[in-house]
Amino acid sequence: MERERVYLPALSRVAVCGGTHGNELSGVHVVRERLKEKQQRVDDEEDEDVVSVSNILTNPRAVQQCRRYTETDLNRCFTRATLSSAVSDRTPYEIARSQELNILLGPKGSPQAVDLVCDLHNTTANMGVCVIAYSDTDWICLHIFKYLQHHMSDVPVRYIHFDLPCREAYSLDSLGKHGFALEIGPQPHGVVRSNVYTYMKTGVELMLDWVRLFNSGTVFAGGLVEVYTMVSAIDYPRERHTHNIMAAIHPELQDQDFCLLRPNDPLFETFSGATLRYQGPEPLYAFFINECAYYEKGIALSLARRRSVEVPPVQMKSGLEHPGDPGTSEEEED
């Protein structure tokens, strides 16, 4: 039996963000191209829409230098603590920038925040297309995911859930009332691969198609979706004194993102050819396998449990108060 329909307010303001990491180039070029197209529509006086979309390069300095960040990782700067910290001329660039973005797209947690943030990322891991969000009950994010998965049939599309409460959410997408990262790989940092760019551009366009349909009153049918919930991460074995890595991801695991890693499966291969095996107690799904930027964060791969989530049908209803928790239905106002 289908779940009861959930009514949610329209998504009037959406932000499409690229260049949060300056060397993840699909997002940089998708945002630049969208800014060009938007300017063309303004010039042609064709700018009517049921949704107001902002296209933003969030870390322009890092984009200009084609680096992940200049002083600190921007995508870890959106905790409430960092957003409210005092700023001086010695404050790292990315922290000052996170506070600017909070003014532009937030304030985080307030009624003025944009309705939806879509933050564009690339990974060197062979993850295909992933929608990454903090919630497994945000029906907006889950419906957008369902829509992308249905319409992007030539690439795997998966939903990754980082189970963190709002107050600990650290990434840019947490600025909006709803938000998610669109993470696509494999692509080396500093490179734009045409197929990955096309997936990113298509993903953004499909997301906005969904938002327009939703805002126009379309009912979206519910259903079961698979969700990968992050459980833990494993670091490389490292030398005690230098902290240098002592092994590489095992060739049987390399590029096998979302495979089920069972106890005793190969994990690493040392430089002398020995196999190190997974010693965890339960089989888990591996992802972010050999992501370049995570070497410095002490992550060789991440592990998730997978389960099915029942997503209810949703429909836009105007006149609703913004719900306190995403996904709850509201009584109609008299």
């Binding site: 630049r32 096309t198 095992h250 070497y295």
Partner: protein, 313 residues
């Protein structure tokens, strides 16, 4: 050159293996660190002093290609003869130091062979880079390596055109060999790429040992890809790229590209075809580090080089 068309060379006694010339090309960094901190048995050969060496330690520390300027373009005569000083860019100082340790470039004291270990984001497999078509010692080495790893292939890229070649770290030695293995993202260590580089090096060192023992290598031919032209991305007035390597060309290193074939795809989906005079063999397709050097790929033409027989003096 001696009689009977056999080229004689001195024994190759001093061999260096450079890693970290680009600090984010991880196979070479990892291999050289391994040999410097652990056992060197793997790279030892009778009668050969094999020196592993990290050429750009600051770039390795930062896991970036370079600190001030590309070390692998820094070994120009001008740089090497510039007055020493702390004001010089870091990599120019390093170039002078490396020239002192392993050169001087062009002199009889220079190291016999330097292998420089590199990675690329391009799908080039295990490529050997040759800087002179007349280096019979190198040609024979590359022939030996190719035969040793057959049926796997090992393309040889020849870059000797004065307008296109550049002043590499390895050019300090009498015989310079570039090892370029990909595809691998910068900053990432892939186990298969690491092992492939290791195997190529093993065969190269085996060749040197055999040569030093007095083996005469008979005349041979080596098929090479000779660098012809650099192709940049189409760009706008601000210098930003306005197109990407076309999906039909992406990952197709060493495959023929004929006039009319798709070459680039604009960000709004249009195809830009290749419009050269004839078929070429592109390589270094979509190398991350070359966006700033205005290079989307290079075209090459196939040539067969003849190598004389060689033996030690």
């Amino acid at each position: 050159m001696s009689s009977n068309n056999v080229a004689s060379f001195n024994e190759a006694r001093r061999v260096a293996i450079f890693g970290g010339t680009h600090g984010n090309e991880m196979s070479g960094v990892t291999l050289v660190n391994l040999w410097m901190m652990n056992s060197r048995e793997e790279i030892q050969r009778k009668g050969v002093e094999t020196q592993p060496f990290i050429t750009n330690p600051k770039a390795v520390e930062k896991c970036s290609r370079y600190v001030d300027t590309d070390l692998n373009r820094a070994f120009t005569t001008e740089n090497l003869s510039a007055p020493h000083g702390k004001d010089l860019p870091y990599e120019v100082q390093r170039a002078q130091e490396i020239n002192r340790l392993f050169g001087p470039k062009g002199s009889s004291e220079a190291y016999d062979v330097i292998f420089d270990l590199h990675n690329t984001t391009s799908n080039m497999g295990c490529t050997l880079i040759l800087e002179s078509s007349k280096d019979h010692f190198n040609l024979q080495m590359m022939n030996y390596i190719k035969k040793a790893i057959a049926p796997d292939s090992c393309p040889v890229l020849l870059n000797e055109d004065p307008g296109l070649k550049y002043a590499t770290a390895r050019s300090v030695a009498k015989h310079s060999v570039g090892l370029e293995v990909g595809p691998q993202p910068q900053g990432v260590l892939r186990s298969n790429i690491f092992e492939a580089m290791r195997i190529i090096l093993k065969h190269a060192l085996d060749f040197i040992e055999l040569f030093n023992e007095g083996v005469e290598f008979p005349p041979c031919t080596v098929d090479v890809f000779k660098v012809s032209e650099r192709m940049d991305y189409p760009r706008d007035a601000n210098g930003n790229i306005i197109a990407m390597v076309h999906p039909n060309l992406q990952d197709c290193d060493w495959e023929p590209l004929t006039p009319g074939d798709p070459m680039f795809q604009t960000f709004d989906g249009k195809t830009i075809p290749y419009e050269g005079a004839g078929a070429v063999y592109p390589t270094f397709i979509n190398e991350a580090a070359y966006y700033e050097k205005q290079q989307a790929f290079v075209t090459t033409r196939r040539e067969t080089l003849a190598a004389n027989a060689i033996r030690k003096v």
